[in-house]
Symmetry: C2
Subunit: 697 residues, 2 copies
Amino acid sequence: MQMIVYVFIFVDLALALFEDPAVIPMPIWGTSLVEMICLIVFTARLFHYAKVIPRIRFWKDPKNICIIVIILVRLSLIDIIIYGSLKSTGYNAVRWSRVLRPLLLVNVTEGRQLRRAFRSIRNALPQILYVFFLFMFSMLLFSLMALKLFGKRNLFTVDGEPYFTNFLDIVFDLYVLVTTANSPDVMMPAYNYNSFFALFFILYILINTYIFMSVFLAVVYNNYKKHLKEEVRQLVKSKRQKMLRAFAVLQQPGSGEELVVSQENWNQLVHLVQPDISNAHRELLWSISDDCNKSHIGKLAFVQLPDLLNIQVITMKSRPHPLHIWFPLLYDSSVSRLSENAVVFYRAFVYIYDLIILVNAIFIGLDEENPLIAYAEWAFLALYLLEILLKLYTWEPRAFFAKHQFWNWFDSVIIVAALVGAIVNLCIKSSDGYTSRQILDIVLILRVLRLIRVVDSIKRFRTIINTLIKIGPTILTFGQLILVVYYIFAMVGMELFKEKVKYLEADSTDPYKDSCGTPLLRGTTFAKNNYCKNNFNNVVSSFILLLELTVVNQWHDILSASAVSHVSARLFFVFFHIVVVIIIINIFVAFILEAFFVEYTVEKSDLQTSLEKKIEELELSVDKYKQLSCPFFCLRAQQSVHGFKAVWLYNNLFHLFFSGYKTVDGLLQRMFEADLSLEDADDMDDPNFSNITFDSV
Amino acid sequence: MQMIVYVFIFVDLALALFEDPAVIPMPIWGTSLVEMICLIVFTARLFHYAKVIPRIRFWKDPKNICIIVIILVRLSLIDIIIYGSLKSTGYNAVRWSRVLRPLLLVNVTEGRQLRRAFRSIRNALPQILYVFFLFMFSMLLFSLMALKLFGKRNLFTVDGEPYFTNFLDIVFDLYVLVTTANSPDVMMPAYNYNSFFALFFILYILINTYIFMSVFLAVVYNNYKKHLKEEVRQLVKSKRQKMLRAFAVLQQPGSGEELVVSQENWNQLVHLVQPDISNAHRELLWSISDDCNKSHIGKLAFVQLPDLLNIQVITMKSRPHPLHIWFPLLYDSSVSRLSENAVVFYRAFVYIYDLIILVNAIFIGLDEENPLIAYAEWAFLALYLLEILLKLYTWEPRAFFAKHQFWNWFDSVIIVAALVGAIVNLCIKSSDGYTSRQILDIVLILRVLRLIRVVDSIKRFRTIINTLIKIGPTILTFGQLILVVYYIFAMVGMELFKEKVKYLEADSTDPYKDSCGTPLLRGTTFAKNNYCKNNFNNVVSSFILLLELTVVNQWHDILSASAVSHVSARLFFVFFHIVVVIIIINIFVAFILEAFFVEYTVEKSDLQTSLEKKIEELELSVDKYKQLSCPFFCLRAQQSVHGFKAVWLYNNLFHLFFSGYKTVDGLLQRMFEADLSLEDADDMDDPNFSNITFDSV
């Protein structure tokens, strides 16, 4: 069901590719029909949702109202009818309802993370606005000063226009200076006139670019954190209350006065909540909850359950190697064992392959059409394949390709893809005598990607990369956020500025070919720099143009030219800059900062510590056992997962790896746990429970 | 003594203005003589310092060794002699010892804050380097990919040069792209060829510009904070140990078993430590330390003393207004009282003047040569003067111009300066019939600065501004840091690139006037944009050029042209970018972030709370009294200081205002107090004391 809704949202958004101004033109009845179908699906989904949840809650939820309004507006067809009729009579019509499309993505029930991001922006808005007003005030003061200082001096810009004589132009120029896009240019006439005037611009940049932009980051960061903390607090509170209710259902009188839950009930509950949990993992969790081996646990230990389940423990079944089963004599022979110990497991092996990768990097840099280099490439491919095969020979294949073995997967996929690509390329070449550029491109990219592997063998790099991989899902949330905002701005931009600038191919016969198809741009920087393709003529180029505006450099040239009309383009950009650069990019930066701080500073929680201790205890007891008689594959499996603690539970052939948290929510909860525990203790409904929590803290 | 050392360091650094390449040329024997004198002063200072402190500590301190080496190198004259002799024989000589000059500023005993900043950078360096290597690695991979993808496609840049064919050029272009300085340009040839290639650049910008730059900020921020915390911890620890030793000296047996310090001794100590403390302030502090009125305090309360003294309590003597003394009848008349109550104190007065300022802003925007506007300006000046006089009429002058009354000072200085400027301008104009541009500039700037006043009447703006004012001293430390780094880079840049580019006045007859005096730059963007003044021909223009490089936009144009020689210029900039933009600017951003977080989140300490409570208690008792009979000037003084809590101690005519911390160290200590208190309790030498601290936490 979720997938279907997402597919239809995607189709709905993708319509922009086919609607006028289109990448791939389609008749208007076609796009309208598809849009209708999408809207019907969304309506059906909404009806279904309304049936499932209570009526009062449905009407109280602002997101449902929002969806209904959007669907009604778009279903009413007013927009399409007006557009169609105006279009047919030759008028320039505006389809403003397209702006509403991405809002559906935000309001669908599944977009929880995205809504959270929007909510946190909304909550930070008043604070941001105050700083923004102060920033605007400072900008206006500087503009006034610039007008008074430079306006009467008869200075001229490089283009021969009067310098700093119009107040509104000055304000805009100084706004651009905040983004550093016109950095030395705007200063040069004054600086050439008198070196002391550079002071004015230095002061301006210091205050408005450096200090105010940092203050924006501080305000956005602080509000984002505060809001997140409040949300997590609510989450933790409701979770604990639910667990207390569950306890009330399962409780039974214990040995003393206290009420307890038996191991049996607990096991059943865990099975219900997480059907795929392994026995070893469950037993480990129970042994932590039931510290004194009483085979029942109290209220406090019971409430911990969701936190325990939230800690990721990777369970790995330790099976004998298939070759060991099929060819036991060969696989256990002393030569084979030597190769395992001497080659695959030890540092030398890693170093040799790092060296091979470096040599490979140099070879990639050389001309690939030289036959010698082409042959060397095959040799490298063979070496990489050999490495994977050697690893597979010593590690149990299912352990090697376990879900969490990111780098093994990465290696194998890249190498196999490169092999396939190279062979396809060879086939095409030998049959046609002609190299397909597309396939060659892919092969070349795969070759370069292979080099990333080096990173994994340096420990310091690995921690940074691991942090980045961990925040991957949240970066995706920001991707959605950016998509929504870009889509809205692209729609508005296309309606306002489409076809103002044209990109003409080299063989075009247009008289204004060199000035982007319009006489207005003749001789401008825009035309000279070949920027003609930066326009709002279709969705794809609009998105790329917006990305360039996000990066900010040269945006005043790009925008003033691609829009040709001045004032609306300026307003468009200033608004875009505030929303995307000042707010969203700062939230993005704030999130990365927070993620790295957590990685650097947050200590392990009590639960994590006790879990680790338990695992270590078990490992200790195993260590003793291992020295007696450990089959070779146990040693292997232990070394295969670096960075994690491996545990060898010999009796049930399971490995347990401890590795951080499963979800972003879990991480966030840990981040704020220190601040939360005390507050929650006070908030708790049950007075007894509050005491217990308090003691445990 | 301190002042003298600073003056000579300043003179030493300022020598760069007079040495070749000079702003104001001076003969070589002149600058050498001044340099000699400076060096002799530094040596004398060092001898003096060596006599005062123990010999072992002197030789253990790396900064002393550093100073000795610098002075020896520079005193040996080798540098000057080689330079002079080579110069006289016509060779191009390099004076490399000038690079050492700013290091003296760092190593002088007084530069503690600056040294701390350098130490924190040094400690953060390994972490930064790891991220930097990873960043370089990612950049090299992308460059390799770009070479493979675009190198064989026969694309050309706007200048007609082959696009992405040389690996090292690609690396440099992509490094520039990280700084966003060549943002769309570097992409355009590939994008024009095929829209899909935009993906390559989008991915590159996302990873290297957004993610890696944020990671740099995170690493710098985190290390900076960690290091600062450790330094503050050491400071707090040594402070407490010193206080314990002081207690051991002053202690005497108390009522029970515990040892105490009597009020008499405590008073003496406070008088010794802070001779200018007011009696009211001292009594307030004592009443907080001695909670139970026992007229002696225990160890714990004694140790608090430095923290108590660190909390800023503004003491204001409440004197009767001079007019009240001189013309009591007139000043106390009912008309006079009406004016006080109805005009100056109430909101209406503030609103009216805000409105006047806004109208004034519009008038400033208009043409000042119009006689009507010029007359209006006199009217505004009169209005502002009237405001200050009215305020002085109602407030006691010494209270109005107290040290902490920032805005009163600001207003008065600006208005009086504007008045003086306007009168001088009028005199010159009426005598010569000619307006001096310089004086007019100053008058105009003062007029605009007057508008800043509006900010103070909006509460939200005031808090932001107050935070910025508070971090002012630390921004000065960063200013010194930047000065040191800029100076070194300017010296190196001047030796490498001087006279490569010349700025020629409009009336010059040089054949290459339009291309900055060199045929190499004919037709380049650099020459076309009038960038000729961006050169390394003297210290001032070098500093401004370095500032432009810090802002980063257009730097590749600026640098490649102003240096003309390519490779050294590239290395120069990359190094400059790493040091200034990646490290120092990030520390600057980190500090502003931290300051705002403290402002937003850190709660008051126990001591602060008890101090405030005490002040409030006193105020409560006064409030009752005030209703009986409060002289009018008490009401006045209380309302004069907004933002602070005012206390009226009627019996001794003192006002106490509570307002945050005195020093940056105090603020820092508060920031980390929560984390420090427990650790310190464990570290304490005295076991009894450790318990006491722990209880109090």
